[in-house]
Each structure stands twice: as structure tokens, then as C-alpha cells.
């Protein structure tokens, strides 16, 4: 069995120290595979003067050239014939450009093992049937985003009684329909089966806010869970503090903070980050995080803010073993009261989004939002 697959079969998802050697071995394998099978990747490593053989020690991982997610938005790069890819997907393309990804069987198998282990650890599985409310896209052939696939996958953690979506597919494309979800929440609160919600934090927040404004208060059945994932996207300006969010959920839906779970992941990094009961994203064994200086791209000490570099040997079909997100964050190594020793990642936000508007010609296209002069 390859070290890659072994890594994803580990039973303890947050035992990072123990898994360092295996992680390195899996990265060596993946790096050699990409170098051999992806000409674009090989060229980049050659240009940067790096050979897969240079990955000798764990510490060498920081020298492995990383590919920015921006690169995947400009280039579709694959390390396998496309027919071997069972699933093809894109990122959600908040900034208008999408990464094109494809995943082969073994990569997906590893992902599945990971989800089973994490789901067990975080007690996401339940045999009790539930109603699902997805604050995201209704599945459709035309929608190839990873987020629509993962939120659909989410509805298999517990048997589904029903599925409702905030973004419903109509003949004119996707339409936001929060009222339907509101009605369903009211209806389900009077029944005995738990409710699970999943999806974009922004839509969840808009829904809760609207219910509060309309004076709607319900208490969802015991065992109901609110999950969030996919980031704030274009609603970054509306972002609220987590505490405020939890208070609102409690007020409107009667959900306890411990029943609110947040996920983090990316189309270019298929490792699932699940927050602990203290709402920290501990780095699971399948992944490593390096925070890099915004000017020099050198790793910064724990606790300092920088660009988030994510590594995982999970996927064979695309060279995404070390990717640079366009998010700022920092890594914490302080002891977490939840008892997990693995460091945790704090995501601070997208680079370049600031409340600025500009008038230099065309700059409005470069920077998110704003109609400038």
C-alpha cells in the first residue's frame, strides 16, 4: 500500500507528531509522481531548482515549490488522462475565475477514508433520520462546483427525510429562496426529527437575521445541528463575529453553541477541516499548514499572520500537493481546551479585500467590488 493511502487510513485524525514521517513519505511519493506525470509541474520545479529528491527530511517540505490557487484559475493542469477522473469539479469562483479540478479513484478513496474517520471523531454520523436544509446550491448537472458536491455529500451523514435548498435551480438559473427554508424551519420545529443545516455562513446568517427581524423564534428538535462551510464569499463585508453568530442562532433556533459546527476546505485542498468544541480548526493528520510572510513568502513563526500554504499528498490526478491559498491566517500552537494537541488554523480572510474603491482605469475589475472613478 502506498504511504499516501496509509496516511488516509490512520485511525487517529489529530495525531500529527506521530504521523510526520508517514506524511513526509507520502509527500515524497506524490511529488515524484507529479514530477513524472505532469509536464507543467516538472517545469515549475525545474525553474525553481527543486528536485523531488530534495525532499529528504520533514523540514524540507517548506522548500517544496507551492502552486498558488490563482495558478489553477489560469491553467488546467492534470497528471492523468482525464478519462481516469471520476469526478470533475471547479472552485466556486468568487472572484470570477474558477480552478478546474479532476479526481481519480484512489484520491477519492483516500478522501472517503478521511471523511469516515473525521465523521466518527466529530460524531457527525447518526442513524436517526433528519431533515436537511442546505444554505447553498441545489444539485444540478450544470453546477460543477466542489461546494455543491460536498454539501450534497453532507446529506449522507445521517439518513435524509427531506432536502431543501436556499439556492434553487430554476429555468432561469439559481434563485435565492430563503422564505421556503424559513417556513420549513417553523414546520420542522413542531415535529420530532432533528434538523441539519449546511452551507455558506452568509446565507445562514441572512436567514437567521431575517427570522429575527420578523420576530420568528423556534426551538429545533433535540439533536439538530447547524453546520457552516464555504466561507463568506462576496459577502465578506457582512461577516460577523463568531460569538454574535452563535448568539443569534441560539436566539432564533434554540441551537446551543456546541451544536454549531464549521467546516473549512478548498477545491484545491480536499482535506476537511472541522472545528472542535472551542471552534478551532485543528490541522488533521492528512494536512500540513505553513504560514508564509506576505512579502518574502518565507515561513513565519507560529502566531504571526501570513498567507496560508496547505499541503496534502491526497490527490494524484492534479498537482495540488502544496498549494497557496489567497487567504490570510495564522497558526496557533497554544493548548486548546478541547484536548486535541494538533495546532489550529485561524483564517483571517481573503487577501486584497478591503473597503477600497479606485479610479485608475480598469482597476475595478482587478479589485473585488466597488464602482470607482
Amino acid at each position: 500500500m502506498s504511504a499516501r493511502t496509509k496516511l488516509f487510513k490512520l485511525k487517529k485524525p489529530y495525531d500529527n507528531g506521530e504521523s510526520d514521517a508517514l506524511f513526509l513519505k507520502a509527500m515524497q511519493e506524490n511529488c515524484a509522481f507529479q514530477y513524472e506525470n505532469c509536464s507543467e509541474y516538472r517545469k515549475i520545479l525545474d525553474t525553481k531548482g527543486f528536485s523531488p529528491k530534495d525532499l529528504k527530511e520533514y523540514k524540507d517540505l517548506e522548500h517544496l515549490p507551492f502552486l498558488p490557487t490563482l495558478y489553477f484559475k489560469h491553467h488546467a493542469v492534470f497528471s492523468m488522462p482525464q478519462r481516469r477522473m471520476l469526478i470533475k469539479a471547479t472552485s466556486s469562483g468568487t472572484s470570477g475565475q474558477k480552478s478546474r479540478m479532476g479526481y481519480n479513484f484512489m484520491s477519492l478513496y483516500r478522501g472517503l477514508r478521511m471523511i469516515l474517520t473525521l465523521g466518527k471523531h466529530h460524531r457527525l454520523f447518526s442513524l436517526k433520520p433528519v431533515h436537511y436544509l442546505i444554505l447553498g446550491y441545489e444539485p444540478n448537472k450544470a453546477n460543477k462546483t466542489v461546494i455543491s458536491k460536498t454539501s450534497y455529500g453532507f446529506t449522507y451523514f445521517a439518513p435524509a427525510l427531506s432536502r431543501d435548498y436556499a439556492l434553487r435551480y430554476t429555468k432561469d438559473g439559481y434563485k435565492l429562496d430563503l422564505d421556503n427554508l424559513k417556513e420549513k424551519l417553523i414546520k420542522f420545529s413542531r415535529q420530532k426529527h432533528p434538523v441539519r443545516t449546511a452551507g455558506f455562513p452568509a446565507y445562514t446568517y441572512f436567514l437567521l437575521k431575517r427570522m429575527k427581524e420578523e420576530g420568528v423564534r423556534v426551538t429545533l428538535p433535540k439533536g439538530s445541528v447547524l453546520t457552516l462551510g464555504g466561507g463568506w464569499k462576496q459577502f465578506y463585508a457582512e461577516r460577523v463575529e463568531k460569538k454574535e453568530f452563535y448568539a443569534l442562532a441560539n436566539e432564533v433556533l434554540g441551537i446551543e453553541e456546541s451544536n454549531i459546527i464549521e467546516f473549512f476546505g478548498a477545491a484545491e485542498h480536499l482535506v476537511l477541516y472541522v472545528d472542535c468544541k472551542c471552534h478551532h480548526f485543528h490541522v488533521p493528520v492528512y494536512s500540513r499548514v505553513l504560514i508564509r510572510d506576505v512579502d518574502t513568502l518565507k515561513p513565519v513563526p507560529d502566531g504571526e499572520i501570513g498567507l496560508i500554504n496547505l499541503m496534502t499528498p491526497e490527490v494524484d490526478s492534479v498537482p495540488i500537493l502544496s498549494i497557496m491559498t489567497d487567504d490570510l491566517g495564522r497558526l496557533h500552537r497554544e493548548k486548546c481546551p478541547c484536548g486535541v494537541d494538533a495546532p489550529w488554523l485561524e483564517i483571517i480572510g481573503r487577501v486584497g479585500i478591503r473597503d477600497i474603491v479606485t479610479c485608475a482605469a480598469g482597476a475595478d475589475k482587478l479589485l473585488a467590488g466597488g464602482d470607482g472613478k
Binding site: D326, V351, I356, A361, A363, L366
Partner: protein
């Protein structure tokens, strides 16, 4: 939010506000109490004095802090509203006889009239600019309908309400509507009843305005512009450092901000040496002024790193402390990555007109750094190419009486009527 007839209404735009708007505007234009330039100037002057007394500090200070501007700069901007500056502006733009034009030699009387109704589609990059656009419309005697930019912070409505407080006659000349750009039906109502659409924004905004307005409606675009520096080997160190400071101070987000530098040379080696020299100056200015926002630096670092993986066009990137200089092979005028990222390209003076003229309508300021004897020749070439403002290293300076993108707004907002 809506401001009409001097009242602020906290509501969305509804049909009832739009009905009869055309008739109201027409009536305003014929009533005996039509406004004079003098009464607008007097009201603005009161506004200016109130600002000097610190009456708007509570709203201005947080905005200044957000935009990283000094209080002195605020007072400088406030001065643009003073009687002295506005009278000078009117004289410069409309001539000494802006009140009453002398007759033609055959005895035909000439009168300057307002266009009538102006519909301003404002932009949000400079706080208070939407209000200033309306004031220019008022100076020429027009009724003004202002569409606020998305995310407006309320400053414009506040300023215009104050103006009406000082001069109640203005209340029927100012309408402000907070309409999203997507509500084209409402915008079309405004465009149809207006004599001209004054649009602040990029090519897309201008194109959208042309779509809204009928062929008999004048479009006055104050659009996105590109600015750059032109440097010869005789440029002195002090001027170059001034340019580096300008780049760091404005973070290149203004129309007049320098995006890059054209060098008067054909030689790559000279270009490389200059790039290295300017990089040092940029680092110095950056150290003195403090680094840019961490998110913007991160964004530029990522873009430059991605470029280094992709580009094979002979570009050389110098990068440190969040500033960067990109030495490039082509001679195209282009937007930089902003936030202290500058391109350096070669453009011998004999190519200026041919290369830059293509960017018609998009050129604004050129910071010309050269020897004294060369200046007239180069300024003539740049002017011919379409540049409308030729400055030293202070490319974003504001001076009383300056034209707006090469033309005078008060003239654009007026008509000459001849009466035999």
C-alpha cells in the same frame, strides 16, 4: 435614502417619488426664484466656513482616518468650496463675463443657460465627490438628480442638506436617490427626463449610461483614467524620490496615480539600471511612510509569484518589503497591480505619440521628469498623444481652476443661447 425638496426620507425609491418628477423639474427651471451662481457660491462659502470651524469633524475625522488623509488635506479640500476658489473656478471655466456675455459684433445678444436637468451617476472612490459633482451642476444653474454610489457613507446627503439649510432656494434643485445600479428601470426614468447624464466610472459605467439615455441626451463621462510617469536620463534624484513618495502615498488608486514609468531609451541595460535605482527609492519612501495594508501586499506577492511561474516574456521582478518594480520588455501602457507595484518600460520620445494615442480618452496625468531644456518638446509630444495634465512628481496635486480630464465641467453643463 432619498433627499428631495430639502427633506431626507429614509425609504427606498418608490413609484410615487418618480411620478411627476419631470414636471416638477421643468417648473423649477421657470420659477422666478431661479438660482444664481452667486447664491450657490454664497451657500458653499458658508459650508466651507462651517467646516473650518470644525462643525463636520465628527463625520470627517473617521473618514480621513480610513482614507489615511491628514486634517490639513481635509481643510485643503474644504477650501475648494470657498467663495474665493469658486469665483476663480467660474471665471476660469466660463470666462470673465460668466454672468453676462457681451453681445456679438452684429448686436446678437448671448446668454449662458444651464442645460436644464443633470442626472449624476456618482462613484464612491472619493468621499464627498458625489456632492461636489452636484455643486458643479448647481453653479451652472441646473436641477440635479444624484444617484448615490453603492456603499455611500451618507456624507454626500449630509453636505447637500447643509447647503439647502444655508440657501433654502436650492431645495428644488437637488434630488438624491439611493438606487442600486441594477434597477435600470428607475435609472431610465431619470435618464429620460435629464438633459445630460453625468457619469463617473469606468468604461462599463459609461457604456451602461449610453444604454440608458436616448440619443438626444448628452453623456458627460468623467471616466476611469490611466496615468504614468515619463522619465529621461536628466531627471534628478529628488524628483524621482518625489515620484516614489507619490506612488506610496496614493497607493496608485487615483486616476492621477502613477501606474508605471516610461523611460526615454531604447537600451535594456539603461532600463535595468534605472529599475534598480528606482527600486531603492521606492523602498526608501515605503520605509518612511509605513507599509501598505497586509492584505494588499499579500495579494501582490501572490500575483508576482504566479507571474514568475507563468511569464516567459523577459520580465524581471524586483520585490522587497511589499514594494515591487517590474522591468518589462513591452511598451504598453497598463494598469499596475496597485499598492506600490510599478512597471518600467522603454519608450523613446519619438514613439510617444504613436504608441500612446491609441489610449484615446483614457489618458490623464503624466509626471514628466526631465531636464529643463527638454521639457517643452516632451510636453508637446505628450499633449499631442492625448495626455491632459503634465506635472512633476506630484502627480495627484489639486489646483484651483484646473480642468477636469481636459475639459471644463461648467461649460459642459451650460449652453449658449443667441437672441437676435
Amino acid at each position: 435614502m432619498i433627499l428631495m425638496h430639502g427633506e431626507v426620507i429614509d425609504s427606498n425609491v418608490e413609484q410615487k417619488y418618480l411620478e411627476g418628477l419631470y414636471e416638477e423639474c421643468a417648473k423649477t427651471l421657470v420659477v422666478k426664484e431661479s438660482i444664481s451662481t452667486e447664491c450657490v457660491i454664497a451657500a458653499c462659502d458658508q459650508l466651507y466656513r462651517a467646516a473650518m470651524r470644525g462643525e463636520y469633524d465628527e463625520i470627517a475625522l473617521p473618514l480621513l482616518q480610513m482614507a489615511n488623509l491628514t486634517y490639513e488635506r481635509f481643510l485643503g479640500l474644504a477650501r475648494l468650496f470657498s467663495r474665493e476658489e469658486l469665483e476663480y473656478k467660474c471665471k476660469t471655466e466660463l470666462g470673465d463675463w460668466y454672468g453676462a456675455l457681451p453681445a456679438l459684433k452684429n448686436g446678437t445678444v448671448r446668454k449662458r443657460y444651464p442645460l436644464g436637468v443633470l442626472f449624476h451617476i456618482a462613484a464612491g472612490n472619493v468621499d464627498g465627490l458625489p456632492a461636489y459633482s452636484v455643486i458643479e451642476g448647481l453653479l451652472a444653474g441646473n436641477v440635479n438628480i444624484l444617484k448615490l454610489p453603492t456603499g455611500d457613507n451618507g456624507l454626500s446627503v449630509r453636505l447637500l442638506s447643509e447647503l439647502i439649510r444655508f440657501e433654502p432656494k436650492l431645495k428644488d434643485y437637488i434630488y438624491v436617490f439611493d438606487v442600486p445600479s441594477a434597477e435600470t428601470e428607475t435609472l431610465r426614468v431619470f435618464a429620460e427626463l435629464a438633459d445630460a447624464v453625468v457619469v463617473w466610472g469606468g468604461d462599463e459605467a459609461v457604456a451602461a449610461a449610453r444604454q440608458l439615455a436616448g440619443v438626444n441626451t448628452k453623456i458627460i463621462p468623467w471616466g476611469h483614467k490611466l496615468s504614468f510617469a515619463y522619465v529621461t536620463k536628466r531627471a534628478d534624484e529628488e524628483a524621482l524620490y518625489g515620484l516614489a513618495r507619490h506612488i506610496c502615498e496614493t497607493n496608485q488608486v487615483l486616476c492621477s496615480s502613477c501606474q508605471g514609468i516610461f523611460l526615454d531609451t531604447e537600451d535594456r541595460e539603461t532600463q535595468e539600471r534605472f529599475g534598480e535605482r528606482f527600486f531603492e527609492l521606492l523602498k526608501r519612501a515605503n520605509a518612511e511612510l509605513g507599509k501598505a495594508d497586509i492584505g494588499m501586499r499579500g495579494k501582490n506577492t501572490l500575483r508576482l509569484y504566479t507571474d514568475s511561474l507563468e511569464a516567459s516574456d523577459g520580465r524581471r521582478i524586483l520585490q522587497e518589503d511589499g514594494v515591487s518594480v517590474v522591468i518589462q520588455e513591452d511598451s504598453e501602457l497598463a494598469l499596475s497591480y496597485l499598492f506600490r507595484n510599478v512597471w518600467i518600460k522603454r519608450m523613446p520620445r519619438q514613439e510617444i505619440v504613436e504608441r500612446l494615442k491609441r489610449h484615446k480618452g483614457h489618458l490623464q496625468t503624466c509626471g514628466l521628469l526631465c531636464g529643463f531644456e527638454e521639457k517643452a518638446e516632451l510636453a508637446a509630444l505628450l499633449g499631442t498623444a492625448g495626455v491632459v495634465r503634465i506635472t512633476g512628481s506630484e502627480m495627484s496635486r489639486m489646483i484651483p481652476g484646473e480642468a477636469h480630464d481636459g475639459t471644463y465641467p461648467l461649460r459642459e453643463y451650460s449652453r449658449i443661447v443667441e437672441i437676435d
